[in-house]
Symmetry: C2
Subunit: 311 residues, 2 copies
């Protein structure tokens, strides 16, 4: 009798991409990127991960072997004839604003996510930024997960509001950036935006404010997660995905859904995201160790606990 | 023999103004404002305050009596023939950006700050936002203060860099907003800007990021101070002054200059600043009690201490 299929602790679905990134000082072409890639590298620092996504035949085999080297289960990664999802973006001087110069869906246009047998009982699920319709397809296949979180973007808020609402109804945590949550709720202050979403049944809302940290709203509590102030930001691409990946990986490693553990997980997210922006592309995260991520997490904790002893 | 002149615990010098404020929804004329006014009302919640400033004969007596009712020593408040410093500003939709429509120095043009006898030994000093030349004049008169902090603005960074540098050399803490510290240091990241200022002899730097909180940099540590997420922001005018005033007042009440107490003082600053933006004009702070300010300070603390017990 064959052994039962292995079950990853964390299931991550999202885009897998080749990115060309321009900053005021540098330009890099065909970097390994995409929301699921950043999130999987980040989650794999803390827990076992199964990735679900699609790439074209131009995707470098090295990208897949890097994921595998980090223990990421790639049975859910489909390779199809054609080109990989491609994104070309340029950051302005302050690195806050970016312009998408080109987006090609390529093989992603026909993506129909199917979970390999072992994946459907993964207890922790992250629906990284893709079309809400695809996020729902994955949700329909998983069986009684402990904790599901989803990310989204302005494009889906504008073009797929109903499907996105369906996703929000079915997840434990929505992660979203500051301008997007305003767009989604049509509220000007975050406090009101959060109240509106939480009153509609969402348990937790994580609002990402970039270098200003994040706010974790839940019904009874509001928690603030600092960002690590970097001396140099090289490429902000994927910071939010890395944050979310480290968050779900760290939470899965604790096997918890308690608020204190969500906060600890968010500190790990903030730590890993800070490393993500210090270099180009997702594969830089492939070399980040848990010890280094934990050390910066301790620094973040010390930023809000004056009595915390410095190491 | 007459009793020795009373010594306020906190000395505050800055502008005292009549403000006209427009927001997308409201317009209010001739509000009692100015950096020293906001800061004094805020500091007086925690400690005894002596104010140094100048007003014209059009300044409402009610403004002075409100300060006195809060125990603010107004011997340092000079009334001169002419009109009070006047500012007219308009906030944009998001309340982040504002335009100064009109600024009239009026009696402020000839301001020559002279400290009343009791003021010169005040142990805590806040040089609120005025021309650095005037801040230096006050510094020349005080005698061995325990802790001096200064605020400034983009105008002085551009027009009085040398005098401002002289101020920075002589204070324990500089409070400044995010865009201004970039302008002052010509560094793009806050981490580098802070390192530059601290390496030039400054002990503490408090960078204000508005609704994203503040960062307190010192040589060994970096602390993050959350902002209270408000459901409605009515008038951001004076938030930074209220923060700084509550900070110095709270620190003075503790009689400390230790980092842990600076952090607690900053949480009080963040609390009081949040009340300041919930209404128009400085005099709204005249009705804020320490109990209410402390209660929101506890909420702020709970935002970064998940194990902190809710009240």
């Amino acid at each position: 009798m064959p052994p039962p299929p292995q079950r990853p602790n964390v299931l991550i679905v999202g885009s897998i991409a080749l990115d060309t990134v321009e900053t005021p000082r540098e330009k890099r072409e065909n970097l390994i990127g995409g929301s699921a890639t950043y999130a999987s590298f980040a989650a794999a620092i803390f827990s076992s991960v199964g990735i679900v996504g699609i790439v074209g035949e131009d995707f470098p085999a090295q990208g897949i072997s890097l994921l595998q080297a980090r223990g990421v289960d790639t049975r859910g990664l489909v390779i199809r004839p054609g080109r990989t999802f491609y994104w070309h973006g340029r950051y302005e001087e302050n690195m806050d604003n970016r312009t998408s110069l080109r987006t090609e869906l390529n093989v992603f246009a026909d993506f129909d996510p199917r979970l390999p047998p072992g994946y459907i009982t993964a207890p922790y699920v992250f629906l990284a930024n893709i079309e809400p319709r695809l996020q729902l397809k994955v949700l329909d296949q998983v069986r009684a997960p402990s904790f599901v979180m989803a990310d989204t973007m302005d494009l889906w808020i504008r073009t797929a509001a109903d499907e996105l609402d369906g996703v929000i109804q079915r997840v434990d945590l929505l992660t979203i950036n500051e301008s997007e949550v305003r767009l989604l709720t049509r509220e000007t202050t975050l406090a009101r935006a959060a109240r509106r979403l939480l009153s509609r049944g969402l348990n937790h809302l994580l609002v990402k404010k970039g270098e200003s940290g994040s706010l974790l709203f839940s019904r009874e509590r509001l928690l603030f997660v600092p960002a690590f102030p970097l001396e140099e930001v090289r490429d902000p691409t994927g910071a939010g995905d890395a944050f979310a990946g480290a968050f779900i990986g760290s939470l899965a490693a604790r096997g918890s859904r308690e608020l204190e553990d969500l906060y600890t997980a968010a500190l790990s997210g903030s730590s890993v995201a800070s490393f993500a922006v210090e270099s180009f592309g997702a594969d830089s995260l492939a070399h980040l160790t848990k010890a280094i991520a934990d050390s910066r997490k301790s620094q973040l904790l010390s930023m809000v606990h004056p009595s915390f002893v410095k190491q």
